[in-house]
Amino acid sequence: MTGPVRITGPLLDVLEVFLQALTDDRELHGWAILKATKRAGPTIYGVLDRLEDAGWIAGQWEDQPPKANTPRRRLYRLTPTGAVAARDLVAARRPASLGRLAQQPRPGPVVADWLQSLTGGAP
């Protein structure tokens, strides 16, 4: 499976981090992704560009910066479509890491549809 995005090592690293964040019900900002993947900034933002263009992740500005007069972080989360595609891709390409993620409940069609209806995202 190749999907709409070019599959690379950094892409898989980022998807693993996003899947973990999804199970923890967290949103991720750029620095958190950099720290988790231990990849260079330009590499990570290239991946984020591709995932955002493909509709696998969605970004939104944080409500309030942690301190006054500081720039806002942009928080990313997997879309319902992206969550399913990312889980399938990681399962196919990194079966070893699947063990960790497999312990988390997989969003089935009902959950995915429900999430989709909440977010109003395209299938």
């Binding site: 070019r6 690379t8 090592g9 900002h29 750029g30 620095w31 950099l34 260079a40 900034g41 330009p42 933002y45 970004g59 910066p65 500081t70 720039p71 806002r72 972080r73 942009r74």
Partner: protein, 241 residues
């Protein structure tokens, strides 16, 4: 310690302190510029990334690290906007190959280092060999990379492959010859000190001690460049700009 030296130390300390305090400010300016440069034809996207990268730099601990992070984004944006397509393809192919064959590269690299150390023990000093590898390998890699990028741009695939095969075979033969001659020269110089004059002995041993590892490093670099180009050709249809 004179008064002038004390004053100089205080002034220098203040200057360093001010300079490091300027780093976060400069880093934010640099990432904003890098975002505008990177997304040159998408001003909305550039605006989003500017603020986002400013927040990223803000999150990054350490004043100097903030600056280094920003410089990384600037370098990337400059590369994306200015490097020729062929060079970017070559870089992407080389990175892909390196990622996929990391274990093999470590193995080959260890072999090259082990061979260089062995040659150093027989022929010359370790310092000579290390210097030879570093001084010799870096230009070989840089020149080879640029040459490969240019070749990929102007020549057909068949010609490029022939040239690479020629270079790699030549480098490997050169390395083998260097190792053999260096070993022989070292053994002769040690076993029969009178065989060469003192200056001649030093010159010969030194020359081969440097030549052999450099030739080995050249063979290694040539192989990597060839493999990188092969990866480019294989992945050409898959690699995005």
């Amino acid at each position: 310690v004179t008064r002038g030296e004390i004053a100089l130390a205080i002034i220098f300390g203040l200057l360093v302190n001010e300079a490091t305090d300027l780093c976060p400010w400069l880093a934010v300016r640099l990432v904003c510029w890098a975002a505008r440069l990177r997304y040159l034809h998408a001003s909305d996207h550039a605006a989003i990334r500017s603020e986002e990268l400013a927040a990223l730099v803000n999150d990054r601990p350490g004043k100097l690290f903030k600056l280094f992070t920003a410089l990384g984004f600037v370098l990337h944006a400059l590369t994306v906007q200015t490097a020729p397509r062929s060079v970017r393809r070559f870089s992407a192919g080389a990175i892909k190959f390196t990622t996929e064959h990391r274990a093999d590269i470590v193995r080959i690299g260890s072999g090259v280092v082990a061979a260089a150390v062995a040659v150093a023990m027989v022929v010359g000093t370790t310092a000579q060999t290390v210097a030879g590898v570093v001084v010799g390998a870096a230009p070989v890699v840089v020149v080879g990379g640029v040459a490969a990028g240019v070749m990929a741009r102007v020549a057909s695939r068949r010609i490029v492959v022939r040239i690479i095969v020629g270079v790699v075979v030549g480098a490997v033969l050169g390395a083998m010859l260097g190792v053999v001659l260096g070993t022989v020269a070292g053994v002769v110089a040690r076993a029969a000190p009178g065989a060469f004059s003192e200056a001649g002995s030093v010159a010969i041993v030194g020359a081969f001690a440097e030549a052999a590892p450099v030739a080995l490093a050249g063979a290694f670099a040539g192989t990597m460049i060839g493999a990188g180009l092969a990866a480019v050709f294989r992945a050409e249809s898959k690699i995005e700009d």
